[in-house]
Symmetry: C2
Subunit: 198 residues, 2 copies
């Protein structure tokens, strides 16, 4: 190939040049908590609020991961690890691409949240603990999963027969059984905007 | 959670709202061809040219996929299929996120390129055949892979002991052994811009 020198080989489109183009740094906002704690509602509200402020976002959750990229995986320990590893790698690529990624996964283990943080880089990671008592999550039981878990039809269900490890130092904790949704989103946006400042 | 109704449940940030925010539709520009044919050079040049025109892009290639998301995969037929499937799913997510994705993978089989096209949707897919005679690719042998393949140190190497299936109806063919790089990029940008028109 005749490499006429219009493209200086040292120039590459990078995370930095994309951030400049978009006028935003990239960030991963990671919601963790029990099934039914309100992660998806908060993540969706956060994404909408950021989008309305002109920020390019993407929401990753079970809906777009489990039925696509990770549809070959089950709920064995090995597959759960692989599930989180792939999610982390996709988040990493999306941060490179310049996005603010909002994600909602139970992610019950400290070790897996640490893995995510390390793969994307601590400076680009924000952990939000969606704190809601198990009894209330179980009362809500939007998807009927707790009932199935209690009946033994689902094994290793977080909160029932599998542990949830509370984050030690989350960037923010939202108590969804007590707090108003609108106010919670406002609190989230405040710290996110602070993190997004140049 | 107290769902005060500030977020109408029917509103979601979507591919369409992101396209509006960015002022660009999303698109996958898929470069296919032999190892050493010039895919990466063309893909990189294409990305730079688009970026300079204010388009948000991301380049996917072996470098950022094989050492991250797909580092658990080998070159068996089964793993190669899984490699392409995951790449397609990541492309799909990135198109949902609003990006113009530029990708450079040998992708020797028609069936795998069809799979990509089906997963991301034909309207968002553009195939560019990087056409270069095997002899010239082998002469270039930038990574020394052809030599290893000839010596039997790499098995199932495309063009040597594994077939490359030429695309039947690519959107564009670039003959890198004959065409000037600058002109090739210009041709690519013309058809890409045409596809990106609202």
């Amino acid at each position: 190939m005749n490499k006429s020198n219009i493209f200086p080989t040292e120039f590459k489109v990078s995370r930095e040049t994309r951030a400049k183009l978009l006028g935003q740094p990239s960030l991963l906002i990671w919601f963790t908590g029990l099934s039914g704690s309100g992660k998806s509602t908060l993540a969706n509200g956060t994404e909408i609020a950021l989008h309305q402020q002109g920020i390019l976002t993407y929401l990753l959750d079970g809906d777009n991961i489990r039925y696509g990229l990770n549809k070959d995986l089950n709920f064995t320990e090995c597959d759960r690890n692989e599930n989180i590893r792939r999610i982390a790698e996709v988040c990493h690529l999306m941060l490179e691409a310049g996005l603010v990624v909002v994600s909602a996964f139970i992610s019950p283990y400290r070790s897996e949240r640490e893995l995510i943080k390390n793969i994307v880089g601590p400076d680009h990671f924000m952990e939000i603990f969606v704190d809601c008592p198990l009894e209330i999550c179980e009362q809500r039981d939007v998807k009927g999963l707790y009932q199935k878990a209690r009946m033994g039809q689902i094994k290793n269900f977080t909160g029932i027969d599998s542990p949830y490890e509370v984050p030690d130092y989350p960037d923010l904790t939202i108590k969804t059984a007590e707090e108003d949704l609108e106010l919670s989103i406002a609190r989230i946006i405040t710290i996110v905007k602070n993190k997004l400042k140049p």
